[in-house]
Symmetry: C2
Subunit: 343 residues, 2 copies
Amino acid sequence: MRDNLTERSKQILEAIIEDYIVTAEPVGSRTVSRQHGLNLSPATVRNVMADLEEMGFLASPHTSAGRVPTDKAYRLYVDSLLGVRKVAREEREEIRKHCSLTGKDIGEVLHETSRMLSSVSHYMGIVVAPRFAADVLRHLEFVKLGGRRILVILVSQSGAVQNKIVETTDDFSSEELVRMSNYLNELVAGLTIAQVRSRLLEELENAKTRYDALLSKALRLSQQSLPDKDSEVFLEGQSNILELPEFADVGRMKEIFRAFEEKGQLVSLLDQCLGAQGINIFIGAESRLSQMAGLSVITSTYMTGRNTLGVLGVIGPTRMGYAKVIPIVDYTAKMVSRLLEME
Amino acid sequence: MRDNLTERSKQILEAIIEDYIVTAEPVGSRTVSRQHGLNLSPATVRNVMADLEEMGFLASPHTSAGRVPTDKAYRLYVDSLLGVRKVAREEREEIRKHCSLTGKDIGEVLHETSRMLSSVSHYMGIVVAPRFAADVLRHLEFVKLGGRRILVILVSQSGAVQNKIVETTDDFSSEELVRMSNYLNELVAGLTIAQVRSRLLEELENAKTRYDALLSKALRLSQQSLPDKDSEVFLEGQSNILELPEFADVGRMKEIFRAFEEKGQLVSLLDQCLGAQGINIFIGAESRLSQMAGLSVITSTYMTGRNTLGVLGVIGPTRMGYAKVIPIVDYTAKMVSRLLEME
DNA sequence: TATTAGCACTCACCATTTCCGAGTGCTAAT
DNA sequence: ATTAGCACTCGGAAATGGTGAGTGCTAATA
């Protein structure tokens, strides 16, 4: 038996995967031969299964258990076996009805999206907020707080807001602050936050401004508030995966929760998807993170125009209901994109 | 034996509690008689223990196990047995070094505080952000986003920022938006957000503004953006409690995580502490929440001047290291208060 | 009278054993 | 090429028995 699979073995593999997805139990030859249309005796199925195991698509936990699909099997499954399904009507409803902007801020919208993804998929929903630094600065404002504290507010094109408190040595008047922000708004109009950063540096060197004390202070002030915080991640529905039998073991559980508490790794994993547009799937150990063993991630990017903003998706067990979840993620990404469109 | 405890039985109870706090194992009479200064035979200790059990301070999991302190025992312990300790030097260090404001926003500061509480205490840290509505509005601003979308930015006295996207039917020019915000800033100067709300309504009725289309639109616009979101909660260190032996059971685990995913209940529990200044302790079932069985909460309020802002604290098992954690929470609350002071 | 030693008893916990059946791989028959 | 038949494997549940920490009671002791 060569490495290319016959039609039949594909069908059997698919049957095993689909059975395992719902039962989470090793699948035996009887089961396959019985429930699925293909009329084959258990013995025949066993032969095929032995081949599939040799090719690395199946594994047996021990001699007298059934077979379990490997990551390789899931990969094949999502790449070629899986028929593309549409989003079910109720799911579509639930996604749609959550889409509204008025009265919320961007963060809230993304947070809710993550919650929605988790509740529709019954796994974990994850949304990575746009990198602020990559966005175009729309508006900048200084607000005087008590004492020597100044609040710097940055608004990006897409409506994201960042604010930072800065403590100054000088005591600026409100009028000075207004003048400063007018000056700066003009200086940086239309630049991305990242560009603003270098623009400020340039300007600091500039002979003209060097002799205007107020302006150069303004430059310094805004510079202090530019360091970007790490991108926000919204991860919801962690309790959903507590229900899964494969994580009933407390040790495994701990490991996963520890991993998710440190959002950084998660971000760098999902950042890899930023480049590739559309649906992206990591199965189990494919991502190099050992903590992801047994977990799969389905992501898609959301964007305005041709500008990719961020990544959203669902994290579940490798035996996730791909056929159902993939369309959900896809549809959600599209809806969020449309929602954030600021023509 | 009447309900008032002799000095000796108090000592024994204390010994049992403290032993149980570190071991998480039922404490037997041998153990008590051996390690603690009071020279008593196991038999004597047993007699006392039997009394304490009858009085409801101890419970036996089963005949041949030691005794376990009840919630009532912990209550007595924190109220009268426990000597007030100071914060250890290293802990104080760790708390202090985290206290800085520059380059962060309020949310970030509180989030970090929660993380810090969890890492210092080794339980969960929790911080409830100030109710925005109770704070005085400092500044209000409209920023035009693409299309018919307007971003409303509200800045409170204490430096908290809320922003909301509002979709309008009219297409305002930037100049109009500036005029509108000037008008409104003047109108609501010095009022709390809650007061602003009613002030806006009043003004909408007002004859003067009724005939100025722009102004009345401004009023409606800002009104739309006032509905407060539920107060933010920062809960960190959930994985810490995964380590605790009493939650090794998966069922218990699930329950707790489910409870914490729904932050609402947590908030309403902690809101009860807003009134009472200073340290506040809930032990196990004292809070009416069934999910809190086995958990205790130590909280304190943080404030600027005599204005209570919010609540922060630590959530741990009932057998928490009270002697260590209480001072930590107390000290942290003071530091955060000082940090947010905006003279 | 308060404390303590002694002792019989209880019961969770651990390790061991036993048993069962689902599932396999092989071989021979179709 | 497929399938029936069969011996074999091995995890997991249930039954068994021993161990020891801990108890409550009683009688001796200071």
